[in-house]
Symmetry: C2
Subunit: 237 residues, 2 copies
DNA sequence: TTCACTAAAATGTGATCACGTTTAACCCGC
DNA sequence: GCGGGTTAAACGTGATCACATTTTAGTGAA
């Protein structure tokens, strides 16, 4: 077995007023979300601390937090690693995502006014632009932005943290979905969702949203593709 | 304003092989779950550490973890407190609970066999016993046990952590529901759920489960009762 | 009495160190 | 060469200390 390569993390600049803890959390979260750390890779506190050039203290709290959000996994060894994915677990996460987000959208619907719809339309345009430019990471970010803004129309926010947790778990594997994105004719589910919002039609919204989520998933969801991806431990370009 | 009373936590014995961190987390979680710490009460690291007779290190990690599970809330002051509840937030949490748990039950259904049903029946009996004995906390614990065992029939577990998060947020207020428990004729929704499991009937299971959850909630859910409870900051016997 | 300003206490944050456990390397005997 | 046992390195955990920020108390003037 080859020796584990030295850990290198992309260091985004640290915001002013941001604690080292938050910065470490944000950096690690981003790395996990875009699948930069292959599943099964174990993260030691000292290594991450060295990679981020900070002490161990903020790092271990960031690691623990990500673990409690199911983005990382603590083994019996007390060692922390990126969770391994299985086909059935993946399916389970997708179905959960659909149930959760359809519910979130339905609960948000009554609060969606014209201003919000305009905002969502704008974000949707940004997705298209990133899509046209072949910017996969941009598509991911703006797509999450679209969903987040929709659900957060509901002022009584309790669902978003759970949705984010699911996103984090699926995160490392959405890259695969995006790599296939251009191979299919892309139906704009977001337009359908926006139409449903304008009509205040809950059922149409659910349908559009479920279709949108499945669209991004089915390309991955075939057992063959995913298991090939899983076996390669995330090494997909 | 009266000076904040000194913090006293019920210290459950520490398991062997359990780290101080885990023990502190478990203790705090339990305290929050049963509503022992009134909403709005701010928890300082040093106070909790003193109450648990440990150093600050494990405590702050426990606090942060509970915060990331939405059981506690970090303010802009960086201070940590038990979240305040509002009527609409409560309703939102209840609807989320129903959506989440109905989905979990449906995904678990195919895996529920005779052995599991027998186990659930046993737990249900324990609920009745606690109910008869007037043991509210026992009812809560065994009821959660029933739901947990049902959802965990699904071997690909991804939903339970989210469910636990919702339980934690509702936790401090279920006490009120239980205080009214004996005032109404109690339809045994668990029996209906068990029947649905035997028949492998997804729809009947959903209906039974939603009814079960609503039964425990409607007594609280009336705006008057809850707001009275919220105003009193959890001071309900 | 009330408001503003200052000083002191309290609190969160981050770094460093010590200890026990786990993991990996190494060496010896077969 | 190969397996088993010993030793050293690596790691997580928990405690203590120093520092910056926040909160509170106290004081004095209007």
């Amino acid at each position: 077995m080859a020796p584990t390569p030295p850990l290198s993390l992309p260091v985004s600049p640290r915001h002013p007023k941001e604690t080292v803890n938050q910065w470490a959390y944000r950096s690690l979260r981003q790395a996990v979300m875009v699948g930069l750390i292959p599943p099964g890779r174990s993260l030691t506190i000292r290594d991450v601390a060295a990679a981020l050039a900070v002490s161990t203290m903020p790092v271990r709290e960031a690691l623990r937090r990500l673990a409690s959000e199911q983005a990382l996994e603590v083994q019996d060894n007390r060692r922390i690693q990126v969770p391994q994915m299985t086909v059935s677990k993946f399916r389970e996460l997708c179905e959960l995502r659909i149930a959760l987000e359809c519910h979130a959208a339905e609960r948000a619907l009554p609060y969606v006014g014209a201003a919000r719809i305009e905002q969502l339309t704008l974000i949707d345009r940004r997705i298209d632009e990133a899509h046209a430019a072949g910017d996969r990471e941009g598509v991911t970010i703006h797509n999450q932005d679209f969903h987040r803004h929709l659900y957060e129309s509901n002022p009584n926010q309790v669902i978003m943290p759970l949705v984010e947790s699911v996103w984090l778990q699926l995160g490392p594997f959405t890259r695969l979905a995006l790599s296939k994105l251009n191979d299919f004719y892309h139906v704009d589910r977001h337009s359908e969702a926006l139409a449903a919002l304008k009509k205040q039609d809950p059922l149409a919204l659910r349908i559009a949203l479920e279709a949108d989520i499945r669209d991004g998933i089915t390309h991955v969801g075939t057992a063959e593709l995913l298991s090939a991806y899983v076996e390669n431990a995330g090494m997909v370009g």
